[in-house]
């Protein structure tokens, strides 16, 4: 991947507040059209990193290039090519969903009609004339994303778009994010939901205490972990001793409701279970980014 074709290039950026190193030497590149996730717990430095890339903050050191240009100091030529959704829902008072979009659109010279069309993309067409403060949390987030996209930017930055949403609203928003990607946009987004990053992102950077701990496609990160797969059965289907004796089983243990078998070779284990007719209530859980995080930091992931 050459840097000319990269949408975002970040080289060793650092930012300290007093003694706190909020961002401590972060480097990565994002290709055009890529869905790039920055994830980590609160206080990991995700938002500061994003703000430096967007040109809202000046890094203490290091360099950022967006589409070959520096975003700092405020680069008016670059601004129309990037779309930013901020963490807070930044709206004008008392305007309807449609009016919010049209007002933000007009800041970029976008016609009122084009702006209103964005409502369709985020599934808010039926809420066009609702005032922003009457929308639900998920609807506000979708409107906020539509406002970031209204001028058809090449790169979209989303800061925790799914934070504080109920599961259904999160899943609705995933569809919106996929639709944006399908339009060929480059997306850089932060989240503290590991499961979500695994589903949506082409690549993820896992951050903690201002540093990137790992950067790869989610599947590669999980595979590289060499973590066992957990197969869970209903309690009483077989004994712990029988389970432990099967080929490929590393460990088996039982609690009040289920029997859990750990294996790094799930194929022979699953076929052995099928032979015994022990598939009732079977669940298979492979390693997730949470396990990756646990492995990298030595502590449980707490969003």
């Amino acid at each position: 991947m050459t840097e000319e074709r990269s949408a975002v290039v970040v080289r060793d950026i650092r930012k300290s507040y007093g003694g706190l190193k909020a961002v401590d030497g972060v480097s990565f590149t994002v290709a055009e059209g890529e869905f790039f996730g920055i994830l980590g717990p609160n206080g990991a430095g995700k938002t500061t990193t994003l703000e430096i890339i967007e040109g809202l903050r000046e890094p203490d050191s290091g360099e950022v290039r967006l589409l070959g240009e520096s975003p700092w100091p405020r680069n008016v030529k670059l601004l129309p090519r990037i779309g930013v959704q901020l963490q807070a829902s930044s709206f004008f008072e008392k305007l309807t969903a449609k009016e919010q979009l049209q007002t933000f659109g007009s800041l970029y010279g976008v016609s009122a009609g084009t702006a209103a069309d964005m409502l369709e993309l985020v599934g808010l067409a039926d809420k066009a004339n609702e005032q922003e403060n009457k929308l639900s949390g998920g609807q506000r987030q979708r409107l906020s994303i539509a406002c970031a996209l209204v001028h058809d930017p090449d790169i979209v930055f989303l800061d925790e778009p799914t934070a504080a949403l109920d599961p259904q609203a999160r899943r609705n928003l995933w569809d919106v994010l996929r639709a944006i990607k399908a339009r060929g946009k480059t997306i850089v987004y932060t989240t503290h939901y590991l499961d979500e990053a695994e589903i949506l992102c082409d690549r993820v950077a896992i951050m903690d205490t201002g540093r990137i701990l790992a950067l790869d496609p989610p599947a590669v990160l999980v595979r590289g972990l060499d973590a066992p797969t957990h197969v869970t059965l209903q309690k009483g289907v077989m004994s712990v001793a029988d389970a432990s004796a099967m080929d490929g089983v590393e460990e088996a243990h039982e609690d009040e409701v289920s029997l859990t078998i750990s294996t790094r070779r799930p194929a022979p284990v699953l076929s052995a279970l099928a032979e015994r007719g022990a598939l009732d209530g079977l669940q298979v859980r492979t390693a997730t980014l949470e396990d990756v995080f646990l492995n990298l930091t030595g502590r449980e992931y707490r969003a």
């Binding site: 967007e54 040109g55 809202l56 405020r74 008016v76 601004l79 129309p80 990037i82 930013v84 901020l86 963490q87 807070a88 829902s89 930044s90 709206f91 004008f92 008072e93 008392k94 305007l95 009016e99 049209q102 007002t103 933000f104 007009s106 800041l107 970029y108 010279g109 009122a112 005032q131 406002c147």
Partner: protein
């Protein structure tokens, strides 16, 4: 649509749809105008009413003169009871050539007036009855004095105050809420100049001020309040605009320091309320003690008030705008400069 135009429209819609803001912009100052206007309407203009029992030459002369208001009674006791109850200062009882005046001892000013007036009419009738030509002649004529009826100073004062309040609150609250909700940041991420944002907000504020002016003056001119505009009233328009911009700048300064809308509201009140009381919003500042008048000269609202009073009702010409205009422009420049130094895009 240009960014300037659409931002202006957005802010105007936000303003019109906010009932609380509308109330404090239009109805709240208007309430003061109506209440003070009605309370003070008849000050100094009331005619004294007396009870009258019987009729005759003197009573007709009194009635024709219109100096006193006469309340006829058939029964002497009822008329005297009115005086005893303190409802009327005096009762005039006519029995042919004999006139008895019964007056209340407590209301000395009122009764002395009545005694003097009735005495005058009786003397005049007596003189006429003698057929002698009067040796001394006496004529009284009305003079329009410089002291104003209450509505004449209330309207310019409350108008200036209402405009100042909504300009200060409008700019301070917009700034704080936009900063807190990160709308400012969001705007900074768009290719739009700070000038376009600021000037669209100023445009909305000045537009609101003009509407306030039209409504307040319009209502004060209703017959029930009776405001009389001078011929040079239109000079109030430039003054209104300068005042709005000055107080808008003050709101930007308040908004630069305040972190929350509540803090901005409180700070704006602390700035505006004392200034309103000391600048002659609710009473003519000429009635205040000398030192207070001197203190009030440091407030831009005092100068705006003076200017409004001079052009709206005193009929002074464009020269009356010089001092208030200069003070307001100077105030705007100084405050806007400080506000721009302490301005913050984000928390």
């Amino acid at each position: 649509m240009t960014a300037f135009k659409s931002l202006s429209v957005a802010m105007l819609k936000g303003f019109i749809r906010d009932k609380v803001t509308l109330f404090f912009t239009f109805l709240f100052p208007l309430m003061f105008l109506v209440i003070f206007g009605l309370i003070l309407r008849d000050v100094g203009t009331d005619k004294t009413r007396i009870a009258v029992v019987g009729d005759g030459q003197i009573v007709s002369a009194l009635r024709d003169s219109g100096v006193l208001e006469l309340e006829p009674y058939n029964d002497e006791n009822a008329a005297v009871q009115k005086v005893k109850d303190g409802d009327l200062p005096a009762a005039l009882i006519v029995r042919g050539q004999q006139l008895d005046l019964r007056f209340a001892q407590s209301d000395q000013v009122g009764s002395a007036t009545v005694v003097g007036i009735v005495n005058g009419f009786v003397d005049k009738a007596n003189l006429a009855a003698t057929g002698q030509p009067p040796r001394f002649t006496f004529a009284a004529e009305k003079v329009e004095d410089a002291s104003l009826k209450p509505i004449q100073y209330l309207t310019p004062g409350i108008l200036s105050w209402g405009v100042a309040v909504s300009a200060v609150f409008g700019s301070a609250l917009t700034l704080v809420s936009w900063r807190r909700k990160q709308v400012l940041r969001r705007i900074r991420l768009a290719p739009v100049s700070a000038t376009a944002v600021l000037s669209s907000r100023v445009l909305v504020s000045t537009g609101v001020a003009l509407v306030q002016g039209a409504i307040f003056v319009g209502i004060a001119m209703l017959p029930v309040f009776g405001l009389q505009l001078s011929g040079s009233w239109w000079l109030a328009i430039p003054l209104l605009l300068l005042g709005t911009i000055a107080f808008f700048a003050l709101g930007m300064l308040v908004g630069a320091f305040a972190k929350t809308e509540e803090a901005a509201s409180a700070a704006a009140n602390i700035v505006v309320l004392p200034m309103a009381f000391l600048s002659g919003t609710f009473f003519p500042v000429e009635q205040a003690p000398g030192w207070l008048q001197a203190v009030s000269k440091i407030f831009p609202l005092r100068h705006m008030n003076d200017g409004m009073l001079n052009v709206l009702v005193r009929g002074k010409g464009i020269e009356a705008l010089l001092l208030p205009g200069a003070v307001l422009i100077g105030f705007t420049l100084v405050i806007a400069f400080i506000a721009s130094r302490v301005f913050k895009w984000e928390e």
